[in-house]
Symmetry: D3
Subunit: 340 residues, 6 copies
């Protein structure tokens, strides 16, 4: 997140550390290496991390009991001093202690949406519970009644690296898409608005099982072997059977096929992992809308987070295969200005 971490009382974030600071704080240990100095004495070289960044740390003259007391992946209560070394800050540690599981506040260790999750969720409910099609509305209710699902859906990121890669990112992405779909739908009367909104809701639900987002962001085995498109269809199959309790009717066959198709085709082409090309108006609309939001989010974020004021361009980004134009020091707003 580009925004400064909202400082909570007492927590010293990595981004706040300065040369000479004495620190007593909990960090996530993400790398641990045993080394020997020139005299053959062993020391530990660690990487400590929270959601604002990472810092190297060194613990001199360690013995086996300390070495064995924790692993990379553990949360550590550390005590030490920050110093400048070869142009960068590092921490010289006096003591480390493994924190028992569950004691760390995960919110400190994973980046988080800047938006209010409960408001986003309310907005999601607002759209879903007002769907005109009774079957789709019932289907949405089934999902919303599933507490485990709702909890995961509000926590999952939308991706590991690319766009919305933070806690709450999936929810934020979906709600933005819903706002967009809601605004564009009236311009295209031949688009089935309810179907499109339901597609927006469902298209990435598989990510709650595809991704892991407890200590750091990654992929589950299921995520890599099956993928969120097919997982999404499985989750849809699980909920759709329950709708008849609410509607008193069987969920329409063709409508269910259209929903599955929306999920499976939303990457738009085979090379991006969709096993089916979009073949309905709502499917092609969802694909392009999703792409619009993801790419605009990606572009604005790369520009916002680029700290290098010496260039009008961001560094080369491999996955986009391009650099982005940031423009003049005063930015585009300046060009528009009335006072010029």
């Amino acid at each position: 997140m580009a925004a400064p971490p909202q400082p909570r009382l007492g927590r010293r974030f990595v981004q706040q550390l300065a040369d000479g600071d004495n620190v007593e704080e909990v960090y996530l240990c993400t790398d641990k290496q045993m080394r020997a100095n020139r005299n053959g004495n062993l020391y530990l070289q660690l990487e400590l991390r929270d959601r604002t960044g990472a810092i190297s740390a060194r613990l001199w003259n360690v013995g086996e009991p300390v070495i064995r007391s924790f692993e990379a992946g553990d949360f550590l209560q550390v005590k030490g001093k920050v110093q400048l070394f070869q142009g960068a800050l590092q921490m010289i540690l006096n003591a480390v202690e493994r924190l028992p599981t569950g004691k760390a506040d995960l919110a400190d260790f994973l980046p988080h949406t800047e938006k209010d999750v409960s408001k986003l969720y309310e907005r999601l409910r607002f759209f879903l519970l007002r769907l005109g099609n009774p079957h789709l509305r019932a289907l949405a209710e089934c999902f919303l009644m599933d507490q485990d699902f709702v909890g995961a859906f509000c926590r999952a990121p939308a991706g590991v690296r690319q766009h919305h890669a933070y806690v709450g990112g999936l929810l934020e992405h979906v709600v933005t898409l819903m706002e967009g779909a809601d605004r564009l739908a009236p311009l295209y009367p031949e688009i089935d608005r309810d179907l499109l909104l339901m597609g927006v809701f469902l298209h990435d639900i598989g990510k709650v099982r595809e991704l892991t987002y407890d200590r750091s962001f990654g992929y589950s085995d299921e995520g890599q072997l099956v993928g969120h498109l097919v997982i999404g269809v499985e989750m849809l199959n699980e909920q759709v059977g329950r709708t008849s309790d609410l509607t008193g009717e069987r969920f329409p066959t063709e409508l269910l096929l259209r929903l599955k198709h929306l999920i499976l085709s939303h990457h738009g082409t085979y090379e991006f992992g969709s096993p089916k090309l979009p073949m309905t108006p709502e499917a092609i609309a969802l694909h392009h809308l999703d792409n619009f939001d993801a790419k605009v989010h990606r572009f604005t974020r790369l520009i916002r987070e680029d700290g290098n004021e010496g260039s009008t361009w961001t560094p080369y980004d491999q996955s986009l295969d391009r650099r982005l134009f940031k423009g003049g020091r005063d930015g585009p707003a300046d060009e528009n200005g009335d006072g010029e």
Copy 2:
């Protein structure tokens, strides 16, 4: 257009002809071949066309003066009788006469947007004249003061075959995009709304010179050799010099580069003929929004115009490389439940 041609008094459209009709009407001759029958007598085999379709026509026993009196591409005043031959209608002609240039009402011969062009144009002016950035607003005014440009912009199709392939299609496409950009922009505060709207206006202006749309839709020599992206930049260069008369200032250099970049990159990738990839937030937004409108328009039109009720699918479409799903006889609305 799927809608039936609004019948004007007296005009007999091709689509309205029936076996046995006697016809006196003007058609565009789009093919002309001289043939000999078994006895060696010459006859003319013609294709006659208006905006509703085409019909074969035959003129028996012609001499050289008639043969030389007109060419394919001319409008012909014809007299003849419609008959069924080998399962299709054809016209047996008694007389043909070349119509002097300018006498035919072109609206009868080219498909036309179903929307009201003057209302679309008013909407375009509404958006452009309310742009906050004075340079962009002045640029828009320069374009709108150019009567030749405005006339062509309101007549040009957006394409020859793919989407919005009818008179007024370019204007309709641009105005729909403006409505969309206007609705989505508030969701993305880091997007420069004025820049995006100006990009929407400019992105396809080169089509007024790339395409021909007098008798039928096609490409001009300039269109094929230079293309509407570069023509658009040329047209922008021609107008941008005049803005200082309105603003009293030189048009900002960086702003001009951003506009050119919006035009040149809007196809999104090299393989679709953009010499530059989108490298600003507004450029990537324009590309995806343009794609959204073009593809949704294409999908809904193919489904709407497909007359074959015997299949839930449209025929295979080569350029999309897929068939589209039309669904049940009663359409998607039907799926949504009992009372509807």
Copy 3:
């Protein structure tokens, strides 16, 4: 199939018709067009078909009741005479009558594997019921106990056009793959043989719902919108829950993921519609084995069925993007020398 249709008593196959024959037989009408002759009299131009080929047919001077009495797609009892017209045979009909649904013997109208389906099915059972892994064996039993599934699995073709495009083709393809997997597995001790064989069984099960194979071969709506890979995973999910009745244990999580992955990745690459690349030894083995069988089947069939003795090459095949080499009249065996 290249083999001559085994003539049943009384049935006159299209391939057996000759100039001058009088015919009374049932054919599938696959095209029906009303036309008018020079005098304006209506006649019907039909295409009649059985599994050996197609023939044009004409019914002169028809009135509306006859015209309305049947549609393309119906089976017709016809009476007529065969004659040579413009270098090809056609049938001049005296009478046609629509056959009630269910009266036609479908085996006459769809091509069929030349192998014995019941023997193929026994071989399938042989392999599946001897699997060493109790969970996989139980899963196989669940499928085999499902009569509807078994019936469809033994009837479905493996494809509409490409390879094994005939009734029983799916079963034949799967059993050949099982034989191959069974023979190759001992050469690769690190391959889990049971897992590979189960993957062979499951990889195309979705085709029983993806394809239609009642009157002619085609795709179901579900087949086009969802596809046999995802349908296969759905069918696996439906059966896997029942295995605990047989084993007394829950089906192992990782084993289930591996099975889903085998199904989803067996096309090998994204561009062929797999949403996941093969990431286990069994998945890559299945992909290449499947490809081996499909391509060798395709090549040998194209060569065998090519009737043109005037060329050592088959015609250009678009989907393979090549012609195939048939070689000398006597085939490869002949090259090997006189003494054989």
Copy 4:
């Protein structure tokens, strides 16, 4: 090779070295750099290697005569002590001496198939000398009588990096393919078994000249400029003329074309360097069988050699563009187990 190097008496392999060891042994020097320490004294930084791995080595305070006495690529008799430095082992050398050419036992420096080469070769002869086609059998005999060829064929690896990248790898790959072809051929009666087996034998023979495998694996000039496909055809041309001495007949023209085609097309597509697509059943069979063996070998090896027990996945492999799934600690065998 994952298997531990079979320790020979006296040889200290790199993999066996431990902190504090005194070493007198021969290693291949694969990198040599002269450096100066803070006091300006020169020292040599070397990389020493045998078939089990590599280790850094340092020789302090060297003068010009020593520096000039050897080059990277030489075998060195070294004397030194192993120590831990910055988390890794390195060797501090007291003495180095260049070993005269031919004195080193190459088997210690290049990885080697774990299989028995003489048994593999016997199996190759078994298959080739039992071919039914007398011309193909005679051709095989000509190759087998060529001692230089046989020697090289038994030593060459099948590749530099990808699959079977060890001494004897080519032979192992070919014999495994022969076993496979022999087992699959009966399932496809239209495949010419003799032709397929001969294709298996010939398809990679060019590798004996394309690759270098004396000190390390690499490409010869001829290998890079011409490639093993065309070299293979050249080698075939050299031997085929001699078959008439054995058969008393000219080698059949078409059969020779089919053999050349098998060699040239076995990579299957242009982008993998085949100048011709497979156009015979045997050619397409060879291509897919070759691919099956190479890929399964690659997958199982990557999984077997991955030492990281902390992940269920191998690291990302660039040429495969994926990670591979290793699964649970107890491996797939566990899932099958009866004892569960």
Copy 5:
């Protein structure tokens, strides 16, 4: 060739036939179909061809002896009358007789270079016999002493359809390339001129065996299964052994590799069938020079031969994936100004 066939005494070329002509002439029969008219009488529908074009021909009321007396591919002595039918000319035949093999003058039936073949050949000898490198000069002499090779090299076309598709086309293409290489070489002193010129000579020699050019242009079995790149290397191998008789030395190894590489890499990329990318300066030079000549030849020929004066563009050309611009009626010369 667009130029009118130089009329020889007595020969009536297809292009010269007019309505009403009585004809006695030899044509190549390229298609033969037996048909029946409305009364069931058999007639033959033929296609007759010489190097200027093709015409339909009909022989009424034929009996079996005539039908069996010839096949498509034979030269026929025909007698008949030309008439206009359905807008095209056709020939009504009275008599046809198969011409014995070897009696037809092939020059009448295949298009031919407009240039003087013996002058082209002299120019080829001029360049080759003046090569400075004695080994390359000796190699050239070996080829030139091979009468069969020279005969074929002077007759072969350079392709079946694309560029230089006429008798003598290969020679014309090679000589033009030699002139070009001879002119460009002095601008690039680091290019080995002799090597480049020898590469020009050798790059397409394989076409003399890849193509067939006796009655019509096509591919030989060897051409399709092996291809002219590898055939060229084989032909080089056959001649290179003889050079030592002329030079008294062994042909240099590296020089031979460079020649093979020039042949194999001249298509420039894998997708165009080169098994190796160009990796020497001469190889990349040859590739681009070859491409220059082939493409310029193709473009100018398509424009020259396009007869349609109604358009400034040629029709769409599938293999080029574009139309070509012909420009104004008076052509490019006209643009250059009045006084010229």
Copy 6:
């Protein structure tokens, strides 16, 4: 440049520095980093560069005023001593002073063509002023009269990295192409020589604005956002209006389209950034000729500049995706020699 820098009196180029040298010289500072040593004292780590290479430099114990006195990108007058450190040379500085803008001789800091720029320019004028077409000749004169353009055209490189990446490279590239076009044109009489030569002159003119070449080579904002193809068309539009002063006539419309098309299509395909494929003979000729020169230049330069005598191959080059063959120690000339 491979050639040694021609040493000017007094200038010590980076390539000339040796261990122990005392230096007083101006260098371009291309990197500047502040670091702290173990004692917390600050020092500056710099990269100093001229056109012969780069060297690391260190300034110990610096205070804020010095740190703030210059930036990366400035020219510095430095005083220091060269020493060997960890195998490489570095400079220990005693004093640095920022040179005022304009005081440095840029020729010392950017690589330069080895050819004589004024002679190249004369050759360019020679060709352009002898064009036969008066409009093209007038257009050339307009460009040559524009002093700013001529100055930039003679200084610009032809690229940042690939070919002709040195001051004067663009001019050298264009003049070589003109020589080539002048020599090849007579071989292709259907090519309009004047048009081709003018295309050669114009094709890369946009590079004078696309690239920056004052201190180092890079891309301007305009270069990245618009690109040299479209900039070239803009520059052409600016000059073409002035030709009528010289000719007394309007520049012909079609001729102008042809020129624009030559510029826009000269990259040959979409993926290389041409928005149009070549559609005229001159355009396809220009594309291939440009490619010939660029690639041959690239290949010969990579081989010439490769200093590694231990290999017959250059290192792998990523953008070419290959290594190049250098061949035997004595080079290709040796193979040809009679004196062997």
